[in-house]
Assembly symmetry: C2
Homo-oligomer: 328 residues x 2
């Protein structure tokens, strides 16, 4: 098993990416290919270890940044770490790819270079959201801003397979992100999608309102990429806003500072539960190899976890299971 890692992608690249990759190699026994500038990567590797076992470098002189326009960058930056990595996966030189870089470039690059599964119309980005009951899978988190009901039905199917095999949920509860609980609520897209899901073989539990997502009512949350992204980023933004402001309040007086000392371990526990880095990354469901988008701000632990998740995806053969389900 060989996992390609875009070593130049992410706010803390390449240092955190290299470190996380080495940690993953040591802990999970996977082979890693780091794509990026060879001399730079060697320096970071050698800061950590002399041991090059199961670590290769795919030299790439160029980098796609967050300021690059995704499709244009994929077409023009042929020598970038991302484009070269994607071609290597396409050519079976590696089995999967992890990147914390430009999301749009990864998603469109994966679709253009690695390619969609069969006749699937739209691949979808599926990150996990930590909930009261474990994790909910959100499909789509932003790959497709405009959707048709049929896309959402595919998202539900792919999400169910992923949830079953990666989170070991026997019969994942599929909820449709909506602005009301009952059938008939929502916009035209969700009203039409409701009908498709109701008649599917999935464990469709109906609409789920955004306020109940964290309660863990659904295992798979189906949404168009626009609404899904609004949901995901609102949850992230609200959680970090509250934790930051709480910290300020706790540091506001001598009394609260004393209290803060006592509650600190509990707060740390709780913060960890909200932390996306603990979960790994979002998988792009519907392309011909596992493509995992790690959070842009990933540290080395988050990268390590994303690689672990990629290994699980390969072990479970998720891509083939999705291919078979889509053909059926």
């Amino acid at each position: 098993m060989k996992i390609m890692v875009d070593a130049m992608g992410g706010d803390n690249a390449p240092e955190a990416v290299v470190k996380g990759s080495l940690l993953a190699r040591d802990e999970f026994g996977v082979s890693i290919v780091l794509s990026g500038k060879e001399d730079v990567l060697k320096k970071y590797i050698e800061n950590e270890t002399k041991d090059y076992r199961n670590i290769e470098i795919l030299n790439a002189e160029d980098v796609i940044t967050n300021d690059d326009k995704p499709v244009l960058a994929i077409r023009r930056k042929k020598e970038s770490s991302l484009v070269k990595a994607l071609h290597a996966v396409k050519n079976n030189e590696a089995d999967a790819i992890v990147s914390a870089g430009n999301s749009g470039a990864l998603l469109s690059g994966a679709t253009l270079i690695i390619g969609r599964i069969g006749k699937l119309e739209r691949p979808a980005l599926a990150p996990f959201i930590p909930t009261d009951k474990g994790f909910a899978l959100l499909v789509d988190a932003g790959a497709n801003a405009d959707c048709k009901p049929e896309y959402l039905a595919d998202f539900a199917l792919m999400g169910s397979i992923y949830s079953r095999h990666i989170l070991n949920i026997e019969n994942p509860k599929v909820g449709l992100l909506n602005i009301g609980g009952e059938e008939g609520k929502g916009n035209q897209l969700t009203i039409d999608t409701y009908g498709l899901l109701k008649n599917s073989n999935l464990n469709f539990i109906g609409n789920i309102e955004s306020r109940y997502v964290l309660r863990g009512d659904a295992d798979v949350i189906v949404a168009d990429g626009f609404a899904g992204n609004i949901l995901l980023k609102s949850i992230e933004g609200t959680a970090s806003y509250i934790m930051e402001n709480l910290k300020k309040e706790l540091m506001s007086s001598f009394r609260t500072k004393m209290g803060a000392l006592l509650v600190k371990p509990a707060l740390r526990n709780f913060k960890k539960r909200l932390d996306y880095g603990e979960v790994g990354g979002g998988m792009l469901l519907g392309v011909n190899a596992p493509v995992i988008k790690a959070h842009g701000s990933s540290n080395s632990i988050a990268i390590k976890n994303a690689i672990k998740q990629t290994k699980n995806i390969l072990d479970s053969n998720v891509v083939n299971l999705i291919r078979e389900a889509l053909q059926a």
Copy 2:
């Protein structure tokens, strides 16, 4: 100035609604008409006071509940507290209406009975979201699940007027809720709306991502009702999820309980800042009289605040200012 209050609407109606109305009368010197079952309302009033000055009752034998289908309920429940209240406002027997009941019924009832301003296509629900810098106005929070770019341009105009006159923000910054920062990001609706807003006379600051809403980057956040509702309910849901879980963590051991005692006042402060009840309610922008939707779970203080807000709206003549702006 006479404010109509649907005394039967809301999770804590009629008790909390009656109490809040009496508080508002005493504190702000407004006249209140309570619509609902006369004998029931009299009982609740007399529990509080013998003083009927500036308190009238509009007897209504029926009630629209949260289980009623909005448009159907407005058409059929002619004797409900809401329908009778809306007709009274339509007939100038009162100047504005506050309700904590069935949102859909209030919105469609207000549009059907009180009527839209001039040629405006779609009224929009505009609640305030507490942010780091005060309050942001969200337009639309759910009245219109499917929108055209022209609707969103109207929302931006109405929201700017409301923000200027009610929050006293000289030149409100208008942000378009979107899933990326730059022009060209988003779905077809936001891409087209961006063009309209860029060419308007409003203080358009571009796209705003949901994760930055609470930072207070925009004073007015423009969205279709589907995305706006997802945003609002995600923020509410995440905030209450975190505060509840935090409470659990703080009660988990002797040590944290001691700490909790010390940090309690700071937490209470912070919770108050997140509390929607402090803000009043959401105004339905674009109908011929002020229509204010208070939160379904409003207590008496939230009702009082919603009435105070309604008084401000009447004092500032917001409806006429919107009418003039839409004609221009």
